[in-house]
């Protein structure tokens, strides 16, 4: 049977995991010779919908882009329109947004840990990670009224100010999560010999592949490239807080996992600082619901939980966008995936795919 492989279809898998991603792999024996990635199963035409909606009415649509990191995208969309309108938001709103963005980042990374465990065949991770995420979900619910798709931001501000005593609740939840990540997660994952056997040394994504395919975010930082838009191009109030850019050098699955785990701890640090310095003031919204945005081009990019997300807004002075282009970081990670899968074992293919943290909602748009 020399030289004759089998074409294996992997997926499309159920949306409850990562979304609907399909891999077509040519396998020989147990080895993946090459793989093709097929996307588009979750395409809902969000860029087209943008052209049909008022600027503020687009928030519910942005929410479902990355459904585990909705607040990050909301903040990016709000910032884009605010920049296009030349609108200055007050300090309190900036702090609130930064806190919410970091809470969302922790939640997104926890889902990553959970679904990664699921792809390893260990459902305990999944339950544990979602248990910790629930603590933050409750906080987001108390603040915004929503859970998965909070619809909390608006052009010019946020819908509601922080509720009384929420800072203490956030701190309590963060302490719990910190303890779990440092103790339980360590025993279960990153210092667990079985976990290390499954994840060390496989799925190596070198700097060349990263730079050729435009991969950003934690996937890139796992290969030792020290870049984070929160530091390199500070937005909101990230220039006022003290934090490290987390990097790992091994560029394998384990390194990509570790970057996320350590970033959770770093985000906790950021939120604590932000809550301490939170300025007084009101989070009043300074823009009407339906408004005209001056004609022009606006490009804003933020550090999402999955990499550098950006929005390129083209306006013509009307009530609705003329064109909106969304750069999704997962899109580029998946573009690099076939190169990473080359030569791996079929059983590892799932783990490698999961380690890239693709969320198909934002890939397919």
């Amino acid at each position: 049977m020399e030289g004759r492989g089998i074409e294996l279809n992997i997926g499309p898998v159920h949306p409850a995991t990562h979304g609907v991603l399909k891999l077509v792999a040519d396998i020989e024996g147990d080895t993946v010779k090459n793989a093709k990635v097929e996307i588009g199963f979750l395409h809902r035409g969000k860029e087209k919908i943008a052209e049909l909606r008022y600027f503020n009415s687009y928030f519910p649509i942005v929410d479902k882009l990355d459904y585990v990191g909705a607040l990050n995208w909301e903040i990016l969309w709000a910032s884009t329109v605010e920049k296009a309108m030349n609108l200055e938001i007050n300090d309190r709103v900036k702090y609130i947004r930064a806190v919410m963005a970091e809470i969302q980042r922790i939640m997104s990374h926890l889902v990553y840990i959970g679904s990664f465990g699921q792809d390893l065949g260990n459902l305990t991770f999944f339950i544990w990670a979602l248990r910790e995420r629930e603590l933050l979900m409750d906080i987001v619910e108390e603040i915004s009224g929503g859970r998965l798709a909070p619809m909390y931001n608006r052009v010019g501000g946020v819908f509601y100010d922080f509720t009384d005593g929420i800072a203490d609740k956030i701190n309590t939840a963060l302490s719990k999560i910190e303890e779990k990540v440092k103790k339980e997660y360590r025993a279960m994952t990153y210092e667990n010999s079985l976990f290390i056997m499954r994840s060390k040394g496989i799925g190596i994504m070198g700097q060349k592949v990263i730079k050729e395919n435009g991969v950003t975010g934690p996937n890139m930082r796992a290969s030792g490239i020290k870049r984070d838009l929160r530091k390199d191009e500070p937005y909101l109030v990230y220039d006022k807080v003290d934090f490290e850019i987390i990097t790992e050098n091994d560029s394998d699955v384990y390194a990509r996992f570790m970057v996320r785990v350590r970033e959770i701890l770093e985000s906790i640090k950021i939120i604590r600082q932000l809550l301490k310095d939170m300025p007084k003031g009101d989070a009043k919204i300074s823009a009407p619901w339906i408004m005209k945005v001056p004609a022009g081009y606006t490009l804003v990019r933020h550090e999402m939980s999955k990499g550098e997300g950006a929005m390129f807004l083209v306006t013509d002075g009307g009530l609705k966008p003329y064109r909106l282009k969304i750069r999704s970081p997962s899109f580029y990670s998946l573009q690099a995936l076939p190169l990473v899968l080359e030569g791996c074992k079929v059983a590892d293919a799932f783990v490698i795919t999961a380690s890239m943290d693709p969320v198909m909602g934002e890939v397919d748009r």
């Binding site: 588009g40 035409g45 395919n213 081009y297 490009l299 390129f312 064109r323 580029y332 573009q335």
Partner: protein, 150 residues
């Protein structure tokens, strides 16, 4: 603007001109590959490719970015709806899926692209939905995807 933009503009006096907000406009689309080759000396990736439909033209905004610092370069060019343009995938491999997406949603042909197929929509989808002249026809309304051959 910064030094690199100035140098780029000086290197191609006939093909490039400065536009608003640091954007560079490419007036001669035949020079695209030469300009992009020059851009590659200073930029790492094609950050995004934004196509805007301004009938009867398509406006292509190539956004280049680096892995250090905050530099961004926007290269803008106009092509007619029926025209094609050179693919930059040989110079910036990260353009691969972006160009496929532009082909998928706008119907722009990229010469020299290794695998110019639809990416987000099914292969037999009728039309290119992000064009401004796109209308929902009966064919689209009744499209089921069942004719797709596997």
């Amino acid at each position: 603007m910064n030094d690199f933009t100035d140098k780029l503009l000086k290197a191609f006096p006939n093909g490039l001109k400065a536009s608003d907000g640091g954007t560079i406009e490419l007036t001669d689309k035949k020079k695209l590959l030469k300009v992009v080759e020059r851009v590659r000396k200073n930029f790492d990736i094609l950050f995004m490719l934004t196509v805007v439909d301004r009938p009867p033209n398509f406006e292509l905004n190539y956004v280049f970015s680096k892995y250090e610092g905050r530099d961004i370069l926007i290269l803008r060019t106009l092509i007619k709806h029926e025209e094609s343009i050179d693919s930059i995938t040989n110079l910036f491999p990260s353009a691969d899926w972006e160009e496929r997406e532009a082909y998928d949603l706008f119907g722009i042909k990229f010469d020299g692209h290794p695998n110019l197929k639809r990416i987000l929509l099914p292969e037999d989808w009728p039309g290119h939905p992000l064009r401004k002249d796109f209308v929902v026809t009966d064919e689209i309304k009744n499209w089921t995807g069942l004719d797709l051959k596997f």
